[in-house]
C-alpha cells in the first residue's frame, strides 16, 4: 500500500491511492461496531492538533480518530495559547515538536500553511492538512467521497470509485476549501462536478477547474444530480458584500423546502457543516431522509483513522516490496 509521508492536498492522490484510503476507512468503520471500538496500532505515538482557526467537528474528529488508534493527543488552539500572544507558526510548531510529536494536524487561516510546515524542515513530524485558508481540506474531501460511495454502493463499496456520479456543489465556492478538495478528488475518482453560486462567489479561475459552473440553482436541480452539496456561507471571510442580503441569498441559492420537494428520493443532500439553517439549507432539508450530514460526521472519524494510520505506520523510508506474491515468511 502506498505510504503517505504527509497529507497536504487531494491533488497529490491518484485514483488508486484515493480508493485504497476509502477502503481502509471501511475497515476502520468496522472497528467502531465492535465491543471494544479501539485498536492498539498507534500506541506510543503522539498526535498534535494544531488549530489556528476555530473548529469543532474537525478537531474532535481527529481527536477521536487518534484515540481509537491508541495514540496520545495534544490539542493546541489559537485561543488560550501563546498563538494569541503573537507566536508564529514556526515557533509554535517547533515548541510542540520539542515535546516529541509524531504527527501534526494543522488548521490554519493561510492558504498553503500545511505545505510550508511540511517543506520547511522545522519539524520531522508528518503533517496532515486540516484546512488551510481557502485552499484545501483533504480529509473533508475524502470523507465526502466516502459518504457518496457508501450511499451509492452500500456493502459492495470496497474497491469502487465514483465513476459517472453527478455532483452539484452550491454556494460560497470562492471561500470554500471544502469545494476545492471535493472538486479535485471527485474528478480523480471519476465523478462530474457542477458548481452553482452567485457570480460574486464563483472564483475567477474556475474556468481552469475540471468542472462546469452556473448561477441558476433551479436549472441545476432540473438536471437531477445524484448529489447536492450545500456549502456554508462563510460570513467570517466576507469583508465585502457578495450578495444583497441573506433573504435574497436563501431565495436564490438556498436548499429550501420547495426545492427539497423537487429532488428525487435517492438524491443525496450533503453539507460539510456547520450549517446556517434557514440560509443555505432549510431545517427540513437538513433533517430529511435524503440528508447525509450526520453520516458525513461519522465517516469523518473513519477517514481520519485511515489517514493517521497511513502517515504514522511504515518505516518512514521509501516503501520497498516486502512481500513477493505467494511468499510467506
Amino acid at each position: 500500500m502506498t505510504q503517505l509521508r504527509h497529507l497536504l492536498s487531494v491533488r497529490d492522490l491518484d485514483r488508486e491511492t484515493a480508493v485504497s484510503i476509502l477502503d481502509l476507512a471501511e475497515d476502520m468503520a468496522d472497528v467502531a461496531t465492535r465491543a471494544v471500538p479501539k485498536l492498539p496500532t498507534l500506541r506510543g505515538r503522539t498526535v498534535a492538533n494544531l488549530f489556528f482557526e476555530d473548529s469543532t467537528r474537525t478537531r474532535l474528529s481527529f481527536e477521536a480518530a487518534a484515540k481509537r488508534l491508541g495514540a496520545d493527543v495534544i490539542t493546541v488552539s489559537a485561543k488560550g495559547s501563546s498563538v494569541s500572544k503573537g507566536e508564529s507558526l514556526k515557533d509554535t510548531s517547533q515548541t510542540i515538536a520539542a515535546m516529541g510529536i509524531d504527527a501534526v494536524v494543522l488548521r490554519h487561516g493561510a492558504s498553503g500553511a500545511a505545505r510550508v510546515l511540511a517543506d520547511s524542515g522545522w519539524i520531522d513530524a508528518a503533517v496532515i492538512n486540516a484546512g488551510d485558508g481557502t485552499h484545501e481540506h483533504p480529509t473533508q474531501g475524502l470523507l465526502d467521497a466516502y459518504t457518496m460511495r457508501k450511499a451509492k454502493h452500500g456493502d459492495g463499496s470496497r474497491g469502487a470509485d465514483l465513476d459517472g456520479l453527478r455532483v452539484t456543489i452550491v454556494g460560497d465556492i470562492l471561500h470554500s476549501r471544502v469545494a476545492r478538495s471535493n472538486v479535485w478528488l471527485l474528478q480523480t475518482l471519476g465523478a462530474t462536478v457542477h458548481l452553482v453560486g452567485p457570480e460574486t462567489l464563483l472564483p475567477q479561475g474556475v474556468d481552469g477547474w475540471p468542472v462546469t459552473s452556473g448561477t441558476d440553482l433551479d436549472a441545476a436541480l432540473d438536471d437531477a444530480p445524484d448529489v447536492v452539496m450545500m456549502l456554508r456561507v462563510q460570513s467570517e471571510r466576507m469583508l465585502a458584500a457578495y450578495f444583497p442580503n441573506e433573504r435574497e441569498y436563501a431565495r436564490q441559492w438556498g436548499l429550501d423546502d420547495v426545492r427539497l420537494a423537487r429532488l428525487a428520493p435517492d438524491t443525496m443532500v450533503m453539507h460539510p457543516g456547520p450549517m446556517n439553517r434557514g440560509l443555505e439549507i432549510s431545517s427540513a432539508a437538513a433533517d430529511s431522509a435524503r440528508s447525509l450530514v450526520l453520516d458525513q460526521v461519522t465517516n469523518g472519524v473513519s477517514i481520519r483513522m485511515a489517514v493517521l494510520y497511513l502517515v504514522l505506520s511504515g518505516s518512514g523510508s521509501t516503501a520497498g516490496s516486502e512481500h513477493t506474491s505467494g511468499l510467506s515468511v
Binding site: D27, A35, K38, L39, S313, S328
Partner: protein, 180 residues
Amino acid sequence: MAARTVLQQADITRALTRISHEILESDHGADLVILGIPTRGVLLAQRIGAILEQLAPGTAQVGALDVTMYRDDLAKQPTRTPSPTLVPSGGIDGKTVVLVDDVLYSGRTIRAALDALNDLGRPRAVRLATLIDRGHRELPIRADFVGKNLPTSHSQRIYVKLLETDGQDLVAIFDEEDHG
C-alpha cells in the same frame, strides 16, 4: 530458483482433512468458529469449514481475522494494507475459535491475532491450526493442529500457493541465495 516441492495438491487436501478430523475430535460438540488469518489463512479456513460441513453439518462457522492493526512491527515495516475482518453473525463469545494460518514461524502473527480476538469477544477456547510449522518460534506459542512440520533454516523461504489466488495448490521451499 531451486525450489523443492514439499506438498502437492493431494497432500494439502489430505492434511486439511486430517486437521478437520482432529478439530472435531478435540472439541466434539463445541460451537466452532474457524477464523482464517489473511490472506491464505482465510482460504484454508474456508476449506476446513467445507470439510467440517461434510463431517458434521452445522457445527462450524467460518470467518476472517485481520491482524494488521495489532502487529508489533508497524513502525519498522513498510505500510501494510489491512484486509476486512469477518466475524460470523453469532460472534465468538463462548465459542471455540480455531485460528488458521498458512505458515507458523516466529509466532508474532498469532500473538497479534490473540490480541485482536481479545477485542472481539471472549471465546471459550482458542486453538491454532497451521498448514506448515517451520519452527524458529520467538514467542511461547505452539500449534494444536499441524499439516506438516518442516524444519527450515532462517535463510530459507516457504512458498504456499493456493488454487484460489495462485492457480495451483503447492507448498515449496527454496533457499534465499537462489532467489537473488
